[in-house]
């Protein structure tokens, strides 16, 4: 579904390659400025940006699946909830610190992703999306079913106690920023790995991937394992960044918003793009909250603008520039 967006996301290719660092350098500066924000912003805005960064990780899980697998999932809330509740339960019941909880959360994402993708490995397109929808819809029911463990409707409180003596808001912000940074760097490295090359070949030419040694069931399992692993990790970070986990924050609608964020970020796996996507799904509802009813309309309009720009306006402009260059 994203073929038309390839040219517009061209910038994302250059990360990690020698000699073409300009965009990477801009990004480093942007991250540094971003990292200094808690010194200026109020607690409320620091908290909101923490949520933005955590959501950006979750958006990356969707973007990765679309970009490397060509598939759309609307069940990412399932894997995110797994990661978030792993952190919360391990901390509240067993006193296990966040970093361990986050690793367990990511591992839980990988595992559940594999368990889901094995039976659905022969599904694709709309059929696969509907299967992920089923996954997404069952999350609140599962959480309420095991309320003795999950805290039921009210959920669980996650104490931001990683570094004693540091204000919790500051901890939340930097944990979220570090989590996003780790995810982006890991994904940039993955792209240049032999599996990254294999997935990006299989996405366009499955037969070619097979002909050079990558089996297609492995492609499917790998794409889902990584995507759901990122979602699990993102859920863990979100639990820490928001101090709370509850069924409401991981409903099926969460997955829809993540898909919106992925579209807004043009399925890019770059940091800036993911943060823009995260802002879109975190800040727009917040800033628009007093208008309540029209938020979905704003979302719809913004999506339309993004898709229209990316697929029609930008390619047309690029073609015009090429023509002018050819004439000159």
């Amino acid at each position: 579904m994203s073929d038309g967006l390839i040219t517009t996301a061209r910038s994302q290719r250059e990360f990690g390659r020698p000699g073409r660092l300009s965009l990477g350098q801009i990004e480093v500066v942007a991250v540094l400025i971003f990292a200094a924000l808690p010194f200026w912003l109020s607690n409320f805005w620091t908290y909101t940006l923490s949520l933005t960064l955590a959501n950006a990780i979750l958006i990356l899980s969707v973007s990765f699946l679309i970009r490397y697998g060509g598939e759309v999932s609307i069940g990412q809330n399932f894997f995110a909830a797994g990661g978030a509740y792993a952190v919360a339960i391990l901390q509240t019941r067993y006193g296990i610190p966040f970093p361990v909880g986050a690793m367990v959360g990511a591992a839980a994402g990988v595992l559940t992703g594999l368990i889901f993708s094995w039976p659905s490995r022969n599904l694709s397109g709309v059929y696969l999306s509907v299967a992920t929808l089923a996954l997404g819809l069952c999350v609140p029911e599962i959480l309420l079913q095991w309320s003795s463990l999950t805290g039921g409707f009210e959920g669980l409180y996650v104490e931001p106690n990683l570094v004693p003596g540091v204000a919790s808001g500051v901890q939340q912000f930097y944990v979220a920023l570090a989590g996003l940074g780790i995810t982006v760097i890991a994904l940039a490295r993955f792209r240049g790995s032999r599996f990254g090359l294999a997935l990006l070949t299989a996405r366009y030419n499955p037969k070619a991937a097979e002909a050079f040694g990558m089996s297609l069931p492995h492609v499917r399992l790998l794409v889902f394992a990584i995507s759901s692993g990122i979602a699990g990790f993102g859920g863990s970070v979100l639990a820490f960044a928001s101090s709370t986990v509850s069924p409401n924050s991981f409903s099926f609608l969460t997955s829809v918003y993540l898909l919106v964020g992925a579209v807004v970020s043009l399925y890019s796996t770059r940091m800036i793009a993911a943060v823009v996507g995260g802002m879109f799904i975190t800040l727009v509802p917040l800033l628009m909250s007093e208008y309540g009813e029209i938020v979905p309309i704003i979302y719809g309009l913004a999506l339309f603008v993004v898709i229209y720009m990316a697929n029609i306006v930008v390619p047309a402009a690029q073609a015009a520039i090429r023509r002018r260059k050819a004439r000159a």
Binding site: T7, A186, G192, R194, L197, A198, Y204, A208, F212
Partner: protein
């Protein structure tokens, strides 16, 4: 011919293939020898590509046996055939538009690279040298087809004729035992085809089995040591380019119109 010689190279024996009631391949037996460039020709629908796909494992022949250096390939899926040393190109260019030219070629090394999943995310020392080595090999393969200058261009901005050579580099980079080319000249203009002929002649090596399916007679006649002609799924002639050129039956079913 001794048994050992017989097992050498890529051989297909008594291959049958049918789709529903349609017999696509009937009792085809061909032996592709190392050091030879072997052409597969025939009119449209003769079964060339089907036969080709049986060799690569993308189709499963109903009966008959395919083997590489004596190792039976029946039931072996394409990824495993790749590990055994079979590489191919496609009739329609099958590269990734999202990768650069050199990255596309690096994927040709996938089956032989050892780096694992952990290395994919974390910069372990072994994986760094693996990436560097792969890139060096891929640039070398691009140099062999004269394209090292565009190594870092994104594949989606490269002209289709050039992409065919990139595909060729991807197939060669892993130093395959058998190189199968499916219509390498399709869509090329005459000067590109001449370049391709020169490139293929350079690539041919004493221990390489090279199989070419092609419509372009100039290319086939120039580069092939042996030519096999298929018609309606059956092998109707085999021989050197001269023999095929002077074969009456072949001229009737295939070359007749072209020679007028």
């Amino acid at each position: 011919m001794t048994q050992a010689q017989h097992a050498h190279g890529l051989t297909a024996r008594d291959i049958h293939l049918g789709f529903g009631g349609v017999k696509v391949l009937k009792d085809v037996s061909v032996s592709f020898k190392p050091g030879h460039v072997t052409g597969l020709i025939g009119p449209n629908g003769a079964g060339k590509t089907s036969f080709f796909n049986c060799l690569t494992g993308h189709y499963r022949n109903d009966s008959g046996e395919i083997s590489l250096d004596g190792v039976a390939l029946n039931g072996v899926a394409p990824p495993s055939r790749a590990r055994l040393g079979i590489a191919r190109t496609f009739q329609h260019v099958a590269l990734s538009p999202e990768l650069s030219v050199v990255e596309n070629v690096m994927f040709g090394l996938h089956a032989s690279r050892k780096s694992g999943l952990m290395d994919a995310f974390v910069p372990l020392p072994g994986s760094l040298s693996d990436r560097d080595e792969s890139r060096t090999k891929a640039v070398g393969a691009l140099a062999a087809v004269g394209l090292e200058a565009i190594a870092d261009e994104p594949a989606h901005v490269v002209a289709p004729g050039t992409l065919r050579l990139v595909e060729l580099a991807r197939a060669m980079v892993g130093k395959p035992r058998a190189l199968l080319l499916d219509e390498p000249a399709a869509g090329l203009n005459s000067s590109e085809t001449r370049e391709l002929i020169e490139t293929l002649q350079r690539i041919a090596a004493p221990d390489l089995v090279m199989v070419v399916v092609e419509h372009d007679m100039e290319l086939i006649m120039k580069i092939c040591d042996v030519i096999h002609v298929l018609n309606f799924g059956a092998l109707i002639a085999s021989g050197t380019p001269e023999e095929i050129r002077s074969n009456k039956l072949v001229a009737e079913v295939y070359l007749g119109a072209a020679d007028d």
